[in-house]
Symmetry: C2
Subunit: 335 residues, 2 copies
DNA sequence: ACTAGCACTCGGAGTCGACGAGTGCTAGGA
DNA sequence: TCCTAGCACTCGTCGACTCCGAGTGCTAGT
């Protein structure tokens, strides 16, 4: 149905249109890609491609532009993801290796991705479900206020305020030791189970406080799930100010909505996922494409990717997203 | 020089222009503000105002629009900052009071500000210089990797990776105790001084590790200064897509540059600071205005504010920024 | 000091036609 | 059967032109 030349024509149309944002005509194709046929032949091929829904004419007497379906076909069948250049790999590793903690890793990664793709980058905080608790701490601040701190094996530090009443430093030290004995080295689920028993093993006068603290730690363990999404490179949308024709308003709106972004990234696969235009569930993104991948360690994955106009350099975006996902996974595993 | 009526005319021009984004003519003013004079009289006044540089004509036969100088005069002399409505106050307190930690306070505040002003909101992380160290912790993760954690009296938790070599848990417990004895209750400066002595008070075989750890804690204390800036409400720029006529690209670019934003906010005063158009040092912001205020507790202040087109509802923005700064200061002081 | 009247300016919207890129179709050739 | 040359046709873009009206500045009069 689609012979090699037709595929070449489709590829040429997409490539040129991505570069120039202008409809591509038959003559331009034979010129720039020296196919050894005449424009008329290409026109016939284009008629077929249009019939099949891969390309369309914005106006009767204009060249063709790719449809969502065309991009999809291109991504599925015509793309060979080229690996990044050595310089790019180098830049990535250098940039990521300087990070001092998890927050920093995330910030750097998302900025890096925005920069190498010249698109808006989004990244979900790592999901740390598989991590085990390394330490629990109770820190008095002032009056009866205090802070519960939980550190896990991946270096993630979570905290929550707690009311300590009039407990003495000795009392807190005791509680702290008991807590650490109970949960250190356990995953969230088993730690939660142990916490339930904690108050019963305490002297009666400490049970109230112990229960409050156990509840606080439980909250921390539970609240680990709804991770945040970080965005970078919104300035890159500037270059497309006329791209998202109905102004880029809806896209900006969407980028502010954590929930939508989380959902987007939740669909990321271990390789590379591409959602093109209308394929996105969210109406605001019907003129946008998302390229995302999963990253993480062990069996817990979170998403990361870029958002841009459907007219996007998919091979490049896919390569960059995949590379960054791999490198950040490695950094997480090591650090 | 400028009698009452001329001031009224200036105020009318600014008010109408902010609403409609269209040049304001003499007839429109007498109609909408029932001054009891004829359009011709207003025209004479406008001629004077233009001579003085407060307003200008975009085209020979168009109405007038305010200049930066006109806005400046308006802000300095004509604005009476109305307090917020009760509903607004209520919304602010409710929204902020649900925060669980400092990160959360910042995130909520900046979103809130973006929402009530319908502009882009920016907020510097609180400067915690006056806080005292509450606890230092050393947490082994795996292999020789570990994490240093410093908690201060405001509940801010800072962390940094550290290489622990082959130290046993007992060794770490000893170091931990010594560290806490040394610096708990001290401000950053005096804590830093004590840290220098720490290794000399240790058994010889621990001095190396002790020095490494002391250095890490010092880093944490020192790195507290270059605080981050958080941005929210970029989607609100959508409504001004034709406002920043040369596209909003430069503004978006600037919003991604932490350094510039920090500098902007560094100038915030305890009441409200307004920078209009060209008054901004950064060239990218020459068509934008910044309304900022300082917030904080004790004697340490950080900045928070909004960025928008020079055509901005200054009275409203000023009132909102001031109110939010005050409420968040209160929340910080309490929590 | 204000106002009525008037000539003038100039941007915006609408019309028109030339231009050209690109098409689809048909007839002829490998 | 597939490709090509040629050609008539479509239609969007661009510049030139006109018209309209909002808004002005000025002058003379109250």
């Amino acid at each position: 149905m689609l012979d090699d030349r037709k595929l070449a024509v489709l590829r040429a149309i997409i490539t040129d249109y991505v570069r120039s944002r202008e409809p591509v005509g038959s003559r331009a194709i034979v010129d720039r890609y020296h196919l050894d046929v005449s424009p008329a032949t290409v026109r016939n091929d284009m008629a077929v491609l249009e019939e099949e829904g891969y390309i369309m004419q914005p106006h009767t007497s204009a060249g063709r532009i790719p449809t969502d379906k065309g991009y999809r076909f291109f991504v599925d069948r015509l793309v060979t993801v080229q690996p990044l250049t050595n310089a790019e790999r180098k830049a990535i590793t250098v940039f990521l290796s300087g990070a001092v903690d998890i927050d920093d890793i995330v910030t750097r990664t998302v900025r890096l991705l925005a920069q190498v793709t010249s698109q808006v980058a989004i990244m979900q905080y790592p999901i740390l479900g598989a991590a085990v608790v390394r330490r629990v701490d109770i820190v008095p601040l002032h009056d009866s206020r205090g802070l519960l701190i939980v550190v896990n094996s991946l270096g993630k530090v979570a905290q929550r305020p707690v009311n300590l009443g009039a407990a003495s430093e000795e009392t807190l030290a005791l509680l702290r030791d008991r807590l650490n004995e109970a949960v250190t080295g356990l995953g969230p689920a088993s730690a939660a189970a142990r916490l339930a028993d904690l108050p019963t093993n305490l002297p009666p006068e400490l049970r109230g406080l112990g229960a409050a603290i156990a509840a606080g730690v439980l909250e921390i363990l539970a609240s680990d799930q709804p991770t945040r999404v970080v965005v970078a490179g919104i300035n890159n949308l500037g270059q497309f100010s006329d791209e998202f024709e109905t102004s880029l308003r809806p896209v900006l709106d969407t980028l502010e909505e954590q929930v939508v972004l989380l959902k987007l990234l939740g669909e990321a696969s271990t390789d590379v996922m591409v959602r093109i235009g209308q394929e996105n569930e969210h109406a605001n993104l019907s003129t946008a494409s998302v390229v995302a991948s999963a990253y993480g360690v062990d069996d817990t994955w979170a998403g990361l990717g870029v958002v841009g106009p459907t007219r996007m350099d998919y091979p490049r975006a896919m390569a960059s997203v995949r590379a960054v996902a791999r490198y950040v996974s490695r950094v997480l595993a090591e650090g």
